[in-house]
Symmetry: C2
């Protein structure tokens, strides 16, 4: 590892980067890798490079273990002039994360997390998740040949278990308080030498920051006005913010875009605290949204996101399931079929454009976080059209 530190996001206590800590032992807030303040992009073709190679200066690794990666990242940024016209803004760009190796943004943080685990000599990894992150860790654990623990809730249905189990991890349904499992797993991991790459651990956040790096490059270092991120644990949003901050510190961009934290109304711990001016987030009782991928009732990075939103006068929004479903269909109209959570940014922008917060001069990037085939139950919420015709009448029918 290069010489740098982990820092508590709240009290700024310093920790060793060569260790794995559950959280800050003073304030129980998440840690992060100290921001890179010097660095440049390693030129090369992203076709054969990896994200960890291209942005090596911004990671604390000395050398990259290449053969454990699946070439995550370097996802397209798709310009949609029709969405921009429809919403009355200057430009809309869709950062399409559904083309990642396990079809969500999670692969970036998984790759960075495993890299750290290997540098520290770990032979076992794990995560607590029942969706995108579980599939991602299971896939990368298999590729890297590591013993891989995936902890899920006891009531997870087979259709959610199968896409994880196919990678053959040690998959465990855990009976008990699922909310507590995040913290419990980190403790067990520390005792047993299992590196838990949970939702907002420092190196998962490191992986997510490459989303910001790529947006900067793809827009030719012209910083967009807004970046809109579906927000659950807060780890991905923290990473994206950190990426823009590091590129600014390194002189690659001259300002940070305004951030929009987009949540589902049925599970909006951060939005609730932000809009009610609370100091900290509170657990959402009985969360209920179709956007299961962002249905975290007590986001472990929620307080840190809240601090960031306040300090920068940024925005949080909550959208209804109806708005999400409508946005999912509209995104498909751009050729991009995202899971419900991935449509939350479009729903959020529609709301903010409608009430005048977002203006006609604005350029906006929406993070499309994961693929639509991950949650096919959403089809039932759509009014999908199909016609019937006999082959003899087809020519006439198609006229």
């Amino acid at each position: 590892m290069k010489k740098t530190d982990l820092v508590c996001t709240h009290c700024e206590k310093i920790f060793l980067i060569t260790e794995v800590y559950p959280r800050c032992d003073i304030c129980n807030e998440p840690l992060e890798v100290k921001k890179a303040a010097k660095g440049r992009i390693k030129e090369g073709n992203t076709f054969t490079q990896t994200i960890l190679e291209r942005y090596e200066d911004f990671f604390p690794f000395k050398g990259i273990e290449e053969d454990i990666c699946l070439h995550e990242g370097f996802t397209p940024l798709i310009n949609s002039s029709s969405l921009a016209a429809e919403l009355g803004v200057k430009e809309i760009h869709l950062k399409n994360e559904t083309g990642n190796p396990t079809w969500s943004f999670k692969d970036r943080g998984t790759s960075a997390g495993i890299q750290h685990a290997l540098k520290l000599g770990y032979k076992k990894i794990g995560t607590v998740s029942s969706g995108n992150m579980a599939a991602s860790i299971a896939a990368y654990g298999a590729k890297a040949g590591l013993k891989t623990f995936i902890l899920v809730s006891a009531d997870l249905p087979p259709e959610k278990l199968n896409p994880i189990a196919i990678y053959n991890p040690a998959l465990i349904r855990v009976q008990g308080d699922y909310g507590n499992l995040y913290y419990e797993s980190l403790k067990i991991g520390q005792k047993q030498g299992i590196y838990f790459i949970n939702s907002d651990v420092p190196f998962r956040v490191e992986g997510s920051k490459t989303i910001a790096f790529e947006i900067c490059e793809q827009l030719g270092f012209a910083v967009p006005d807004y970046v809109v991120v579906p927000t659950s644990s807060g780890g991905n949003l923290r990473g994206i913010i950190k990426g823009f901050e590091e590129f600014r510190l390194c002189g690659l961009i001259d300002k940070i875009p305004r951030i929009i934290c987009a949540q589902a109304r049925g599970c909006a711990a951060i939005y609730n605290a932000h809009s009610n001016n609370h100091e900290t987030i509170s657990r959402v009782e009985n969360p209920d949204t179709i956007a299961h991928a962002i249905e975290n009732p007590l986001p472990p990075s929620g307080n840190e996101i809240l601090r960031k939103l306040r300090a920068n006068d940024w925005i949080s929004v909550a959208v209804t399931d109806e708005e999400i479903i409508r946005a999912q269909k509209r995104l498909a109209g751009e050729g991009i079929f995202g899971q419900p959570a991935a449509a939350v940014p479009l729903a959020a922008v529609r709301q903010l454009a409608g009430n005048g917060v977002i203006k006609s001069r604005d350029t906006i990037v929406l993070i499309v976080t994961g693929g639509g085939l991950k949650y096919t139950a959403a089809f039932e919420r759509h009014d999908l059209k199909v016609a019937d015709c006999r082959i003899e009448e087809l020519s006439e029918f198609m006229r």
Copy 2:
């Protein structure tokens, strides 16, 4: 369009590239764009380039309509040393097409097909498919704002309709002989000005050739010994062969890899004809395989593939559903979850390594054609493992 021709793959009759023809009117065999014999790769970063831009010299287009593409292609080539060791060969590389915008290789041909359609002034496109190609055409048609017809068989179940319908095409269940629909659609298209980008039309083949281009680049222009392709209509395989041929004609590589046409035993029209030394393929009655994506009983490019296999002394293989299922699980062990058809090349190589055709000195590229979430019924064929545990006993359980 640049000045070049379409050529019949069999009788070599010349056709206009500015027209759309169903097939050769003499021999009813498929047409192809005359091979590019001069060209170089346009340097640039694949992060922001498109495949049509990078390989523009090898396409007959003058200028590329960029805003209709979803950044298909430029997929990873993943080296698997563990698979190579297991199969006793020198190198195995997995060309992972599951990260394409609609999660299959089809997006390449769709993009090239729409490009041709727009150059000729078409406002309507279509296809006959119930799987990967249907989703791809529906997505790209939506992005390009074209009226898009998707013709499927009358008995297609909702779980296969939904991932097409979400993109909102004119989706039509056609009652009647589905085998005849391929030819019928091309005729209707010609009359009504609808460009049918079916499985092996010339510009779909053009799109597929970029798979070969990319493999050459990703291996540093060291030609692999074998390239193994799941084969259905034969269009994708024709494209891959054409790509290698063009790069050789242009002096970018000095030979062509040996091609392995991999089919499912339950629907192996090409393999059957090849191994029985028949002049032409015959329709497979009652096709039956779990690899539905390659379940074409009468491949429209089957005879042309047969001619290529013979002329070059290449190989065809058929694998059982059991071999496919085993290969699907093994691929997931490399972190890549492909649909059953995508596992057919690995099953084929295992067979050929087992009987000594493939040797320990060989470098092999497997084309992983589409993502595993496209066909979740395959989960039932796997013995997937999950354990149960109470949270209080978790620490002990994980030891």
